[in-house]
């Protein structure tokens, strides 16, 4: 039993380290003044979340997190930054000056925190039994996706279509200016 306890302690230590890196990077996203630094910190946050997935043995989801968020969303964000850049680079993410916006920010953040705390408090967290036997998570994902959740699955395709069409129209508008 002592090795199992030591293993759990090690797991906790690894989790704490991942959590420190992830939240540290997230703070960087908010507080750094250079918007490109913000974007790169965001990539680090994404990778930290992926590491948490890996620690939970959810490899596929972790890799999706890396491929889509760290590999694609971040590129989109960077190109979006390149599209609107015209200020001095070190003043692209200054603290918000207007009081009204600050209050709105605090209000929204408070709402989010309360929702999360309530959700965590009222969810029954079943303890995993056994060592989490390896199972075919990717296959189960496919069965659920194309079985019970097929409507949502096709809706996702339509959502992607709408996103592309909307972005093309918006970008055309930008180009005309």
């Amino acid at each position: 039993m002592s090795t199992a306890a030591a293993n759990l302690q090690l797991q906790d230590a690894v989790f704490v380290m991942i959590a420190i890196v992830t939240t540290g990077a997230a703070l960087g996203v908010v507080f750094l003044r250079n918007i490109v630094h913000n974007a790169l910190c965001l990539v680090l946050t994404f990778l930290g979340v992926a590491a948490v997935y890996f620690q939970l043995n959810a490899g596929f989801i972790g890799l999706v997190q890396i491929l889509v968020y760290a590999g694609a969303i971040s590129v989109l964000i960077i190109f979006a930054i390149m599209l609107v850049m015209d200020k001095e680079i070190n003043q692209t993410n200054l603290p918000i000056p207007s009081l009204g916006r600050r209050i709105a920010g605090v209000y929204i953040t408070a709402l989010l925190v309360i929702t999360l705390v309530l959700a965590i408090y009222f969810t029954a967290w079943p303890l995993a039994t056994g060592a989490g036997a390896p199972f075919d998570a990717v296959g189960m994902l496919a069965e659920l996706m194309l079985g019970d959740y097929v409507i949502a699955f096709e809706a996702a395709a339509v959502l992607l279509l709408v996103a592309v069409v909307g972005a093309v129209i918006l970008a055309k508008g930008v180009e005309k200016q």
């Binding site: 889509v68 694609a72 992607l160």
Partner: protein
Amino acid sequence: MLTDYATIGVFFLLTVSFPIAAMALSWIFRPKPKAAPDDEKYTTYECGVDTRGKTWIRFRVNYFLFALVFLAFDVETVFLYPWAVKFQKLGFFAFAEMIVFIAILVVALWYAWKEGALEWH
């Protein structure tokens, strides 16, 4: 026994040491002359002429459009991989569902193509 992802984690930690070791090795051997920070050699290289204006400027909308269409297809990849793994067991209905899914995204590709979002200027 280490689990699969613990092995990946340790492998990553080991890999981080590689560039550090390489830079340390070069630090031992490389010359470290003292030069003023405004020395000629620390200027930005631009084929011999002094650089003018900012580098970090606004770029064309093209890049953004490519990234957006890419994102849509990247998400599609994520859906396609689990489907492909289970393809032979899921039966024909799932195949038809996936054809519909791909068809909707082909419409997106066609629209972006038609609107010239895929042209490089």
